[in-house]
Symmetry: C2
């Protein structure tokens, strides 16, 4: 292989020569790194991973460069060898999906062309593709609304931030000073963080017995609210994958004249499936809906969506900057993109989304969501049948299963939790499994720590996960005496 020279590194990025050769080096490094890792994540824990990573690719800013080919191989190899690989069946901690190869390849197009989504003259076609995609994604949530719309975000956190910002501006437009957010105890931290950033009053927290927002508790909380209120419900909680009772919540909100935003970062893509969409019944009553396609949706981060019931809801984002959308240009027919985001320069994350939607179609996406839901049910059954594991009583979330080693139940509560945490950390340090954790009420009402598996893999089955359950049981057995002694 000829070494790409520095000239290639700074050459026309559309040049098939330079990019094809360098992409090939990157793919070689990915394969070599994955082979060297040999598992769902690197063994050895944080210190060893750091040392190995530094050995492979530092200094990151030498005085004299090492050249494009070597630098690319070094960094790609280090990143791959030290990756937590969501395509491994033992990597199931988070809402962190294995990206589809077709989406990753489409993302290369975004990087090579580098359209920036803040003006037409930086992204003529990408802007059109974005408009088509956001229209389709808005219709998915609001099929019966006359003029729904959506914007692409960096993820649920940004979607929720923008939703609260828009809620604040609607409140201000009525002459109020601010908006009071009401949020379930089960909500993602980003809602409270957004309220903090935006200078809103601290959100009122609504009880969530059993992990779902209580409409009765919401009703009581809204009675206390004087001014404009925005209720934030969740469709797919981070800990359990549960969906708040949206029709009842919408009704309570409506009764009190409050608005509803739904954080469906996790659950939104159920809408692709005819059989699963009914679980989100009522979502169309929300003024805005967060959902991510880098969870269920199998996109590389970032692929966030904020859908709104009516395009006018987005108006507070409108902005004129003479260099990007001067009035005379807009009047002359140049599309104005600036009001589509709180960012200015913006990567066209929409290209990979468009490619995936078109590749799989609504049915293909729906079938893949159904696969994940089915896998979770299979895993729940396998846990129930496993002698050394106990599943958390109650419903299985969208594709999330909580359980703990029975050995932990044999210990006093604090020691049991400690055992659960140690099982997870040791499997992580040994490079054998990436498991999640959640502190959630047990059947007796007491808060206990659980292991969490989040099933997002588009092809892994329950059978593929049986070895993981055994591994957890064995690890618990090995650790239990030490933990009991501690």
């Amino acid at each position: 292989m000829n070494e790409p020279t520095r000239a290639d590194a700074v050459a026309d990025p559309a040049s098939p020569y330079a990019l094809r050769k360098l992409a090939s080096i990157a793919l070689d490094a990915l394969a070599d790194g994955a082979a060297a890792r040999g598992g769902p994540l690197p063994a050895g824990g944080p210190e060893q991973v750091a040392a190995r990573t530094r050995a492979l690719c530092t200094p990151v800013l030498p005085e004299e460069g090492v050249g494009a080919a070597d630098a690319l191989y070094d960094v790609a190899r280090a990143a791959a060898e030290g990756a937590a690989d969501p395509s491994d069946p033992h990597c199931v901690a988070h809402l962190h999906c294995p990206p589809l190869a077709v989406a990753a390849a489409a993302d290369l197009v975004a990087s090579a062309l580098n359209p920036s989504m803040d003006s037409w003259d930086q992204a003529p076609a990408a802007a059109v593709i974005e408009a088509e995609v956001t229209a389709a994604l808005a219709r998915l949530v609001y099929p019966h609304h006359p003029a729904p719309d959506a914007v692409i975000t960096s993820g649920g956190t940004e979607s929720n931030l923008v939703a609260l910002l828009l809620g604040r501006e609607r409140a201000r437009a009525t002459g109020a000073r601010t908006v009071q957010v009401l949020v379930g105890a089960n909500a993602h931290h980003s809602v409270r963080r957004a309220a903090w950033m935006l200078g809103l009053p601290t959100p009122l927290v609504v009880d969530c017995p059993g992990g779902r927002m209580s409409p009765a508790a919401l009703d009581r909380a809204l009675v206390e609210c004087a001014g404009p209120a925005l209720v934030v419900a969740t469709a797919g909680t981070t800990d359990e994958g549960l969906i708040d009772p949206l029709p009842e919540i919408a009704e309570v909100a409506r009764f009190h004249g409050a608005e509803l935003h739904v954080d469906a970062a996790y659950g939104g893509p159920l809408l692709f499936s005819d059989t699963l969409a009914p679980r989100l019944a009522g979502i169309e009553h929300a003024v805005s809906v967060t959902y991510d396609l880098h969870k269920l949706g199998w996109q590389p981060v970032a692929a966030g969506v904020l859908a709104v019931a009516d395009a006018q809801v987005l108006e507070p984002l409108a902005l004129t900057a003479d260099y990007l959308n001067a009035d005379d240009d807009t009047e002359a027919g140049l599309p104005d993109l600036l009001g589509r985001s709180i960012r200015t320069s913006r990567r066209p994350d929409v290209l990979k989304i468009a490619t995936t939607l078109r590749a799989l179609g609504r049915r293909g996406l729906g079938a893949t969501v159904e696969h994940c839901v089915r896998t979770a049910a299979d895993v729940a059954r396998a846990v129930d049948a496993h002698p050394a594991l106990r599943r958390r009583p109650g419903d299985v979330g969208i594709s999330t299963v909580l359980f703990r080693p029975a050995a932990a139940d044999a210990l006093p509560d604090a020691d049991g939790d400690e055992l659960v945490a140690a099982v997870r950390r040791d499997l992580l340090a040994e490079g054998r499994a990436v498991l999640g954790r959640a502190t959630v009420a047990d059947g007796d009402g007491r808060q206990r720590l659980w292991l969490k598996v989040t099933l997002l893999h588009p092809s892994t089955t329950g059978d593929d996960l049986a070895p993981l359950l055994d591994l957890i049981a064995e690890q618990a057995e090995r650790l239990a005496p030490a933990s009991m002694a501690a």
Copy 2:
């Protein structure tokens, strides 16, 4: 070529087979699209581009998918054929750089591995690489500070937002209710937008005679400020590429006990160059500095940086979420990444940055910045020598040159501006050039509309741009009579 099947599309993304084959299809489509476009942007204007794009790749969400290979080719081809190509010498409107091929290839690694930067167990090695890169990028701004730090952002807009957020929290920590931002009339719109989002008082606008913030005007404005104040200076204005007088501004701010943030989104990378870094003297007095590597830096969007003089400045971003950084995990040695961003799920934009820094080294990056600055000087000289063009009197900005057709000067002011706008729009609609625009004072003090060229190409020279100047002159000559008649 064998058609990748749907199974490939949802296969293990680390599988060299699926991704290599699909990446190859994407690169084919990029080449075909660029050939079909045949210029810096597609001809025909917004409506024709939209029609052609829709013909190539819609519907984006069919009921039944078209398959991975076809969908990828369709979307990539449409995006490429309808791109504004920053690697074309005639595409010089914005701070929109041609990305290095090596950076685009590294970005493929980010997409394929999909580490998410919000917890160690989603990004073991990527987190280490980010720590190395942010340390190096912080030292670039603050070489003599004991503990500078930096975070990676989605761009200057997010960097400025976080800078103002941190400023607000520092003010609150002193018992104040908020912070008063003071900003030059030359500042990027994102500063005012951030103040709006964060619920801060409307920023006070400081005069910028000649395009640079006046220290005397700042002094007068600060006299009027009662509470905590944050001065936002600019190093590399969007319209002109000018740098505020940072040492004097820092001194005025210090005298009044105000803090300084510098938006060096454009100018920050001058620090890579020994000869250009002195232009940013005084920047080290800022508590925080915004800079982008997707402008000078040749990264695909996004590659933003916010550097801070001391790591403690970032403390208000600290956040605990039990599922990502539970206290017992952090105590057990698992690195806590959550306080490094206002986002949660976060793409490892740092991989392409690390690769580029290591590929080119500080000297290589500095030499490439110097090339752009030199090209701007060459273009300015060529404009001065051109009989049909007039350069805006005054200094050339970092790599930005403003000028207008002499034909516009022959018209009444409004008609002249109209001619300038029409030249730009017509070249855009004809697919022949992507030029910027700016309304800035002329030598006689009157605001006039100028054409703007922003030179960011790592290898284009002044000679390569000579045909563009002729093209502009010809277009103005062709349009001038019609404009006079209008």
